[in-house]
Structure formats: C-alpha cells, structure tokens
Symmetry: C2
Subunit: 533 residues, 2 copies
C-alpha cells in the first residue's frame, strides 16, 4: 500500500507532478478568468514544524504509546481545507503529545486511565479523515497534553452471522478491510463514503457517516444493529445486536454522532447483505435545474427507492463530464442481489421524463452480469474516491476550494438554494469563483444538497475561508436546514450546531458527558465545550 501523504488527502503518490498541476492551473484560470497560477510545493515532511511532546509516557505503556515526531505529525490533522492548508505550509504546531495504538481493549483502557490520572485529554482516531476539525483539540482544550488514541490495530472481523446478515466488526477496520473480510462469504456492507479507502467502522459510527445508498440506508445509522464502547472510566457500554427494539430511547442512537465524547467505540454489529448481481442505471438530462429538482422529488416520493439518485447541477455535470451543454443531470441507479431492476429504473426514468427530462442515451441494464459490470463500476468508483485528491492539488495552485452539505425539506429547498448561492458569491468578496450543487441523498421529505466552491486564495486564507464558511452556514441555519448531513460537527460546525440543536438536548448531552467522563478527558470541544459549556 502506498504511503499516505503527510498533509494532503490520501496516498502521497497521487499528488500530481508540477507539470500536471500547471496544466490544471491554466484550465482553472481560463474558467475563472484569472492569471494562471504557478504551482508551489508543500513543505517537505522533514522540514515541518512539529510541536515538541510535553508528556512522558510511563514505562508500562511504552509498547502502546509513542512520542515519535513523525508519528505525531501524522496524527495532527484531519483533512479539512484548513488542515491541508496548514499541513502544506508545514505547520504541525498543534501535534498531539502522544500517539497510542493499543492492540486490544485492555491496553486501550490502560491508556484512558493513565490519561485521566495524568490530566491529559484523549482524541479517539480512526482513519484521520475528519473534515470538521474533529481530531485536534484547540489550544485552550489541551489541558496537560493530548493523547491521540488510534483504533487502527483493532481491525478484525469478530463474528459473522450469515443467517441474520450481521457482522461484528472492530472499530479500526477500514472500508477495504471490511469488504475484504466479507467478500469470501459473498457478503458486503456497501457503505462507501468518499473516505472509504481510509476511514474506519468506528469513525463511521462516531460521525453518522453517509454512504453509498441514496435512499433508505443513507447513513451508517441504518446499518447498525449494536455498538460496543469503553467509556472514559473504562466501563463497558454494549448493546445487544437487535433488528429493532422499543425498549426506551435507543442507546445506539445516542452513540451514533457522539464523535468520541461519550466513549471510545471499539466494535459494532453491522447489517451486511449479498453482493448485488443486477444493476440498472440512466442519466436524465434537464434544461432547467428547477425541473430537475421536481423530477428528483417525484422519484424520491415514488416508493421506488433507487440506490443512486444523484442530481448534478449544470456546473457539476460539466465538471464530471456528464453533460457539456448546460444541462442538469439526474443519475439514477438501482441494484439488487435478487432480481432484475430494469422495471423500477424505467419507471423512475418515466417519472423524470414526465417532469421535463430527456434521455440522451439508453438505459444501462446488467442482469446477473457482475463480470461485465465490474469495469464501469470500478471506473466510477475510482473517480468518486479520487475526488478529494483534487482539493489538495488546488491548494498548491493557490486556489481555495471546499465543500459543505446539508439536508432540508423539499418545500424549503428553492429559497435555501437561492440564499446559499447569494451568500457564497457575496463572501467571494469580488474575486472570481464558482459554486456548484448536487444532491447526494434524497428522502421522501427532502434532499441532501452538497455544495462545492472554488476561488483564488486571498492574502489571509484562513479569514477568507471562514468568511465563505460563515456565510454559507448562516444561510443554512436561516432556512431551516441542518449544518451537516453527513460530515459531522467536530469543532468547525459548533457555532451553528449550537444554535440548531434544541438547548435542552445540549443540556442532556453535557450532563451525560459529565456523568460518564467526570474529568472531561474525551475529545474536549467537540459537540459541547471543554468546560462543560
């Protein structure tokens, strides 16, 4: 496996060379109407400024914990725009003091107990792909020091119940590790967030990760039958794997989205399924984005439940080479392990056509044709997984670019969309820039819009980014939408999350946190303030 970049998304080898970046820069300059940027180079790993560790590891934990500069550097940041920007500049002054990599729960609890006794804070760490600053305590939150607690060595399939379709997976398994463990049994989790290659079971559960399915099973939540964690004091929190229960509020639903604040997730019982053998897909084109939205609503409310229902606005369609004539495109996909899905696809297409859509190419139908399909599926998957690499490349070209996502009702979407566009354009502050929109998931009651923006960097890049982020987030809040559909809260979204959530729920969360973690060692500043605020 390629080594991961010390600052950018994913594998280091995927960062393009200067010539390739130069070509991309000239293309972008033409689109934005600016002078072509000169590619710059990231600070080499050996030249980065890494905070010195201020913590001495006790001998009893020497086999589990390290203060090695290189290891700590690689456990400093997630992969938000500013994380990457700072990493590009070689600034790792917020590195943790210690990285702990236990191989079992006993060692994990020993780390927690040491941290509590030594006045340290602990950040649970899966794949390190957070884009919401979920992984780095801020200066005021560091207490006596920061221990990053990596779950990556807890990466085994603990049990498989093929009769019920349930897999007990350790928290540190990455997406490919999960699929590799299930494949010999003809099973799959089919949870493919864009971070799939690197992110982990525990990270998915802690952040309510959004996955492959556009309907029904949109978040990891719906694939979860049970969760096990260890609280800050080492207590075991374990729910029995159940298909459904009405016994009080769901314990699992309080863990889902808890982002490391209620305990360290060590394993989960997840719902797996046979690998799909039948597929059908189509791209429906629309001259009007509004008409495309109505078509998408019709499909979302039809009870057809497509596995893919991705609406691209004209800019997204152009960037993804799906349409070059200014059309919006609704990408529909169905899949099944049991039967042909030609019928439901054709009905969804008819609904979209009735709303003004055109079908420039015939539908693609693969009945029991895994082998034939694999090439196309692999190609799409590669493009999807490669998306985040672009953001890193753009940084080296002097471009600020980021994404944000939300969910809202169908009734509120038009006003929300107009407000988001106006807010982001205004926040570009006279610079050229682009904002595009797609729907990643859809529900009978509303879509999950996903926005991407790009603009040349200003002098003060963090301030520039904060202006765009703030403007967009205010528009979301003002129009009844959520601050995040599947990117989580972390520290980044706190200002808006704090206003979105019911205040009594925040009180309940703070009280729960205080009860389970009296010293406040777990991920301070995430969801609620480090001081209990």
């Amino acid at each position: 496996m390629d080594e991961r970049s010390h600052w950018a998304w994913g594998h280091a080898s995927k960062f393009p060379d200067a010539q390739a970046r130069g070509q991309l820069g000239r293309l972008l300059a033409a689109v934005l109407g600016v002078l072509p940027p000169s590619p710059t180079e990231p600070v080499a790993e050996g030249d980065c400024a890494v905070r010195a560790s201020g913590v001495v590891v006790p001998p009893s934990l020497a086999a589990v914990c390290t203060t090695d500069d290189g290891v700590r550097l690689r456990h400093t940041y997630g992969r938000s725009f500013l994380d990457q920007y700072r990493g590009f500049l070689g600034d790792f002054r917020s590195a943790p003091d210690v990285v702990a990599r236990p191989e079992d729960e006993d060692a994990l609890v020993a780390v927690l107990r040491w941290a509590a006794s030594a006045g340290l804070v602990v950040v649970p760490w899966g794949g390190g792909t957070s884009v919401v600053e979920g992984l780095a305590p801020r200066e005021g939150e560091r207490r006596g020091g920061v221990v990053v607690l990596s779950l990556r060595r807890l990466n085994r399939l603990l049990a498989l119940d093929e009769t019920s379709g349930l897999a007990h997976l350790q928290a540190g398994m990455t997406g490919p590790e999960v699929e590799a463990a299930l494949a010999p049994h003809g099973l799959t989790l089919r949870h493919f967030p864009q971070s799939f290659e690197f992110s982990t079971v525990g990270g998915w559960l802690a952040t309510r990760a959004g996955g492959h399915f556009a309907t029904l099973y949109t978040h990891i939540d719906e694939l979860t039958a049970g969760i096990r964690l260890r609280t800050a004091t080492g207590a075991v929190w374990e729910s029995r794997p159940l298909p459904g229960s009405g016994a009080g509020p769901s314990p699992d639903r309080l863990v889902l989205g808890s982002e490391g604040t209620l305990g360290v997730i060590t394993s989960g019982w997840l719902r797996v399924r046979p690998r799909p053998r039948f597929r059908a897909s189509a791209g429906v084109h629309f001259r009007s984005f509004d008409a495309a939205v109505e078509a998408t609503r019709a499909v979302a409310q039809s009870g057809l439940y497509p596995s893919g229902c991705r609406l691209l606005d004209p800019t997204e369609a152009l960037l993804n080479q799906v349409a070059t004539d200014g059309s919006a495109v609704l990408l529909l996909a169905f899949e099944s392990a049991h039967r042909s899905v030609r019928g439901p696809l054709e009905e969804a297409v008819r609904l979209a056509e009735a709303a003004g859509g055109r079908l420039p190419r015939p539908v693609t139908v693969q009945d029991d044709g895994d082998a034939k399909r694999d090439a196309a599926a692999a190609s799409w998957r590669k493009a999807f997984l490669d998306g985040p690499y672009l953001q890193s490349t753009l940084i080296s070209l002097g471009m600020a670019a980021d994404t944000f996502e939300t969910a809202c009702t169908w009734a509120t979407f038009p006003a929300l969309h107009a407000a988001v566009k106006a807010a982001v354009r205004s926040a570009f502050d006279g610079r050229p820039g682009r904002l595009s929109c797609r729907f990643t998931h859809v529900y009978p009651d509303g879509p999950a819009p996903y926005y991407t923006w790009i603009t040349p960097m200003a002098e003060d890049v963090p301030a520039q980014w904060a202006a765009v982020k703030g403007a967009a987030s205010e528009a979301l809040l003002a129009h009844g939408a959520t601050i995040t559909h599947h990117h989580a809260v972390g520290r980044m979204h706190r200002p808006w999350y704090d206003r979105q959530r019911p205040e009594p729920f925040a009180e309940a969360l703070r009280a729960a946190r205080k009860a389970l973690d009296p010293q406040g060692i777990l991920n301070p500043g995430v969801l609620t303030d480090a001081d209990g605020g």
Copy 2:
C-alpha cells in the same frame, strides 16, 4: 362517540352481554379442557373505590385542573392485564390526585410549574392505553401527590407541507383525528397500532409505537421528522423538521422512547403519504412452522419490503380463522399509491413456495380499486382493532390472558422460541393453557415475535400473572432478545430493561433527566428510578 369503559379496553358498549360471554366461556373451556366458567360482572363505576384526592388545586388553575372522582378514576390505569383486572374488581385506590387538561402550552407549563413548587409528580397522558404500567406511579413514587397531565385538548393539525409530505400534529390527536385531518388532502400517516382508535401522537412518540408497516417504517420513529416538547421547567425542546441530519446524536431519537421522562411532548412533525390505491395480498400455508419461519426470512431479506408480512403459528391461524388444518400461515400484503403491486407479491409468494409453502387460494390484487377493496380492508381492520376487547371479556370469564412481544435475530429465533414456550408452559404450573406466536414485523436481520397466552385464573391472580411474565421475560433476556419491540418499558418491564440496557447508557439517561428535571417531577419510576437510580 361511545363512552369508554371505566375499566376495560375501549368503548363500554363493546363489552359483550352475559349470554355472549357464556358462549365464549363454553368454547374456551372445551379448548382448554376445563369446566365452563360462569361470567362475572365488573364492579359498577359508581361502586368503585377511588382514592381521595390529597391535593388542593390553586384558583389560578381551577379551569385547567380537576379533582373530580369520576375524572380521576378514568385517569388511573392504562390497559395492562392487571390494570384491567384491578379495574374489574373496582380497585382505583391508585387514582391520581389531580387531572389537568390544558388547552395550550402556556397552561401546560403553568401546571408543570405548580407541580414543581408543590412537590407533586406529573404523568403525561395521551390515550391512556399503556400496557406496561407507564401511567401510574407506585406508592413510593407519589411524593406530595400525582397530577395526570392529559394532552387530549392539544389536538389540532398545526401545519401541513404537502410538497414535502410533512404534517405538524399536536400531541393529543388520536389516530382517527390524525387521519380525519389528513384525508381531505388525500394524505395518510398510515400508523395503525392496535390502540389506533384511542392512542395519540404524543403517546406514539413517547413509547416508540409500532404500526402498520411490517418492514421499513415499523415504528413511529421512522415517520418522525421533528419533535417539540416542554421540559419539567418549561423550557422548549424543539427540533427542526429535517429529512435527515448528521449533526451530533439525533435529539429526536433521545425523545423517542423517553416515556414522559425528559419532557412533555406537545407536537411532532410526521411524514405523511398519499393514500394507497393499489394492493395485493396472499396467505401462504405451511405444514411446518420452522419452514414458515424460513420462508418469512427469505421474504424479509429479499428487498421486496412488503407492507404486511405477518406469520401466524397454527394456533394463531386457527384463532383468526385463517387455517383450521394445523397450518402456519404467512399473510403477505403489498400496497402502493403509484403502481400495481402484483409483481412483488407474486415474487414473495414464489419465495414462500420455494420454502415449502402452499397457496390454497389465489392472490388478491386490487389495481386502483379503492372502492372495491374498502370492504375487505375495513373488515380486517375491525378484527384487528377489536382484538384487545377479548382480553377484557376473558377477565369476566375467570381467564388470565396477556400478550408480550420482542425482537431477535433470525439466528437466535429457534432457541428463543423453544425457551419461551418451555418457560411459559412451566409457569402455567400444571394448569391448562395455550401459548401462540405470530410475527408482527420483520427485518432483514430478524423477526418481531408476538406471543399470546391464556390460562384459567389461579387464586392469586397478580402472583400468577407475575410468574408467567417473569418466566417469559427471563427467556427473552437469556436469548439475546429485547424486552419489548413496541409496547415500551413503563414500570412493568424495568426488571429486565435494567439488565438489557448498557449500564453507562442508564447513567447518561439519569444524568440527562436530573439536568432537565432537577426535582424529578416527570413520571418517576419509568425507565429509571424515582430517586435517580
């Protein structure tokens, strides 16, 4: 509308006369092999022993609160077996001291504040149909007195978003009130618990009620987009209606199942849909219950998502007059507002046939035939809604009878089922008795089995009932199942719920409760102990 019985399920007029009960008694006696019982009469309402109110209502709340004996009697019990048994005997010594029936949230909050200041406890009350002792604090939990807070006067449709399919419903609306408000718009909630006629939106949300759909939308949880409540101190807890969100743990999911302990639910945003116009159904017969279970699993894992997938064991099939030859029967039903459901029904039937099922009668298919179907649908619905009346009638015949339900994985069901049968039979303690089983809901990872038992009353009926309940519940716990799939926890299920839930989750719940309700006025003893235990 008929007046409701003061002790039995539902309308008083539905309690059969002595002759009809005598006939039923002779039939039962023949089945059980006992002497025919003589029907006895319930204690008349006017002769019941009602606890005297120990609380004086302040003049400012005189319009909202009453201490009238008749009103308090009718707000004493839910409808568990023992509730009805005690009511039958005229024992209302656990009546509340006050019944409050506010017409708006201001009056509701005034009641809460008075209760807090006067050292009283408050029990939120919807339809009064709890079967788990969710409504009556025990002697040690009554503090300075008990106020039942009825939500029934908050019963309006507050808003309807037809574009998104969302209705904002006040908590006190009953099932028929909800459907009546939606019908003029061609919409329906299609949440039909067996208590549908009497239970309320707020009660459904507070108890995670199970409804009409056998798959996908099994609980009210899946139909919920947002909830509003008032905490014990009057604070507003309100989530924005959202199709999906990843912003921290779901606030709604902590309210769902909170059973009045975190606040008083005043309204909810629920997902509504067009009324179905297409239906298809079939009954597949099996000589072997084990084969029927395998067939049901095949359908549940097929991705067909029937709206009905009710497996009846031979006893249930006999009692429901569905099969009289000892067959188990799988009742399959599909419905849609958009398209014929003949295809998916036929495929589900084929799956069931492949597992050993027979189809004695052709499938029933109604395409766009609401009128034609109405008679059959109404007939089935009436039988379903009349089910609970039987339990009341049996009490007057000296029969102890009750139901309990659970959920488990497919892999654990066979051992669980054997253990439940053995435990209940043993608890019959030598008396004749019957135990039957059906599946009310099914999931890809497991069924929700629902058990019904009947045996002649012993000398000490409460002790007899507790022996059967305890034996059954121990079997559920020991085999990895849940103590309740959709009947809630209340006070009845506490001994097993306390062992099922993760202990740190209980700590979190207690801490949340303490934070939001520092004086512990809301429904003490439900979910956690009144003293914070």
